[in-house]
């Protein structure tokens, strides 16, 4: 019965209507980034404080067993605690956010807009990486003062935060979007952050070998290594560059994974 017959007196009945243009990648990425960033004012600030206090608390605890001065351990503690802020916010909170969004049907908002998947995944990841900046800076400066390390190396945060942020936010987004239930996303985010804490803050030289393999698998490790290098005298710039390059590669992979996970979650 059904056919709606396009009679001759219905011009254009069977000519498809023009499609509105697809939103372009960079403008829509910027729009997602801006909107996500604005959420910090409404919802995220208490948790950003928690992230910073957690790291400072760990440094205070470790101060009891680690000597001041530019030794391996002091540098590892300060660098690890600083990058831990990134893990808390970008990995853990973003996994929770996407897990909740997916579970509650919030992804429908983006899925019914003509926006590239990469814009949503990358814009959100970038915003979460940005949320970490104040906490990382406060933690790193506090740590350097507490452990008697030079502040002059902290400029490297300009590279470490975005690269570790990309890697961890990408992973967090992927975990949140792929987890079948919101609770699982939360659990995985928490576990990832615990891993970053245990494997990042403690100096590698004290770890059993199987644990160091695990440590090598965690992308934040390379950010920690690079930062730890420049907190001491006579940094090996080749090693710093290599560590940052690994971080960048892991970041690119993680963001690609996040984009794929978004398309999978938002598609049908």
């Amino acid at each position: 019965m059904t056919a709606t017959l396009p009679a001759p007196d219905r011009p254009g009945a069977d000519a498809p209507a023009p499609l509105a243009p697809q939103a372009r990648l960079w403008p829509s990425l910027a729009a997602v980034y801006r909107s996500q960033l604005s959420r910090a004012r409404v919802a995220r600030i208490p948790l950003l404080f928690v992230a910073t206090f957690q790291s400072i608390g760990i440094m205070i605890l470790m101060r009891g067993v680690v000597d001041s001065g530019p030794g391996d351990e002091a540098r590892a503690v300060v660098a690890g605690s600083s990058v831990l802020v990134v893990a808390f916010v970008a990995l853990n909170l973003l996994a929770q956010y996407f897990g909740r969004l997916r579970a509650e049907g919030g992804l429908d908002f983006y899925a019914t807009l003509p926006v590239p998947g990469a814009a949503v995944a990358l814009g959100t990841a970038a915003a979460y990486a940005s949320f970490t900046v104040p906490g990382v800076v406060v933690t790193a400066v506090t740590g350097c003062l507490m452990y008697g390390l030079p502040l002059s190396g902290l400029w490297l945060l300009v590279a470490v935060v975005p690269l570790a942020g990309a890697a961890l936010a990408g992973l967090g987004a992927a975990v949140g979007l792929l987890a079948p239930r919101a609770e699982l996303a939360t659990l995985c985010g928490q576990l990832g952050m615990s891993a970053a804490l245990l494997l990042g803050v403690l100096p590698a030289s004290r770890m059993p070998e199987p644990i160091t393999w695990l440590r090598d698998l965690l992308p934040s490790t390379y950010g920690v290594e690079a930062l730890a290098q420049v907190l001491g005298p006579g940094a090996d710039w080749g090693s710093v560059t290599a560590n940052l390059a690994v971080c960048a590669a892991a970041g690119a992979l993680a963001l690609a994974l996040a984009t794929w996970a978004y398309r999978r979650a938002a598609g049908r």
């Binding site: 709606t4 009679a7 219905r10 254009g12 209507a17 409404v42 429908d108 807009l113 003509p114």
Partner: protein, 364 residues
């Protein structure tokens, strides 16, 4: 209110769609009516079927059987029409609109929107329509103006155009004063209105709105309806909307498809649907406590009434209704009467007369 005895109120009534089999359901779909011969179809849906798989029991929970949420749905919506999907919760309205918007893949059937096959090309849907879903988690923590502006940008507008469009839409909806407030801090109705604002920012020829006015006060509702109507009048927009509010359905919709159990059980103009229940009127009598038991006229009425607490609901011909009102208001029963209303049939009556089994329709 118990509506279980509804069948008894229509003894011998023949449903216009007697055998609700899958085959007949196609015929109970919603083809263009005769009065719209010159119109152009915006949305054509054929044989749309979607079954949610059942779940095996885990722990102490029970097996969940598979649910056929869309069962051979056929619809035609004309360009420039405000078309409603009416039914209680669980009737399959949201499942249907999610298939129309490319969010959900149907098991079978076709969806053609403005000449585009959305089953095959679901990513074209966002370029043809704007969708208001039931959930606003994605924009909950944004301010009202940023939510609308972001939606505009993600619909492809340039930054300045998106800002202007958002501003205009929010003014149109009377949200100007709330523009700087985050959605989360607004009341339920205001939040819904802000979500409507985000949906209407950035022009689209088709609007698909899932319960756009739920939780809104009358002022906000009017703002939404006039904004939608303006888009239809000025730009020929086509609107498909979900509602379970029968009053709203009667006043704003051009045509309405009544859904029940994933099927279209009727489809017509609100007036056309109401004529299905004939010219019977509904008389509600509400008693202060108990109606006078000795009155023989009341005893007869009681047999025909659907009784819910102190309320008796009767479906009568207009002549008989007048006679009953005269009897009740003139006789000794009047002293026991708290209130009475006489009303022409509503879409709810239509829904129940058609065999709808849900109880979730709203009448406010």
């Amino acid at each position: 209110m118990a509506r279980g005895g509804e069948g008894a109120a229509y003894p011998g009534r023949v449903s216009p769609f007697p055998a609700q089999t899958g085959v007949n359901m196609v015929e109970a779909g919603c083809p263009p009516d005769d009065g719209a011969a010159g119109s152009v179809t915006a949305l054509a849906v054929r044989g749309l079927t979607k079954t949610y798989p059942g779940r095996r029991a885990r722990g102490r929970s029970r097996d969940q059987p598979a649910v056929r949420a869309s069962d051979g749905i056929a619809l035609d919506v004309h360009r420039g029409e405000i078309f409603g999907l009416l039914g209680p919760n669980g009737a399959g309205k949201t499942t249907l609109v999610r298939q129309l918007t490319g969010l959900l893949r149907p098991d079978e059937g076709s969806v053609s929107l403005l000449g585009h096959d959305l089953v095959r090309y679901p990513r074209r849907a966002p370029r043809l329509l704007a969708y208001l879903g039931q959930d606003a988690t994605a924009i909950d923590e944004l301010t009202v103006s940023l939510a609308a502006e972001t939606a505009g940008r993600l619909r492809g507008l340039e930054a300045a155009d998106a800002r202007r469009a958002a501003h205009e839409t929010l003014d149109e909806l009377g949200l100007g004063e709330l523009a700087a407030r985050p959605l989360k801090r607004l009341s339920g109705g205001e939040r819904r209105l802000a979500a409507v604002g985000a949906t209407l920012t950035g022009e689209r020829p088709v609007l698909v709105l899932d319960e756009p006015t739920s939780g809104m006060d009358p002022v906000a509702r009017r703002a939404v309806w006039s904004a939608i109507d303006r888009r239809r009048a000025e730009r020929g927009a086509t609107v498909v909307l979900v509602t379970h509010n029968v009053i709203e359905a009667e006043t704003v919709l051009d045509r309405v498809a009544v859904l029940d159990g994933g099927r279209v059980i009727a489809c017509d103009t609100p007036g056309g649907l109401k004529s299905l229940v004939g010219d019977e009127v509904r008389l509600d009598l509400v008693w202060r406590e108990q109606p006078p038991a000795a009155d023989p006229a009341l005893a007869r009425l009681r047999e025909d009434a659907r009784i819910s607490g102190r309320r008796w609901t009767l479906r009568l011909t207009p002549e008989r209704a007048r006679a009953v009102v005269t009897t009740v208001t003139a006789g000794p029963a009047f002293g026991a009467l708290d209130d009475f209303t006489l009303a022409t049939p509503s879409l709810e009556d239509v829904y129940l007369a058609l065999g709808g089994r849900g109880e979730g329709l709203v009448k406010a």
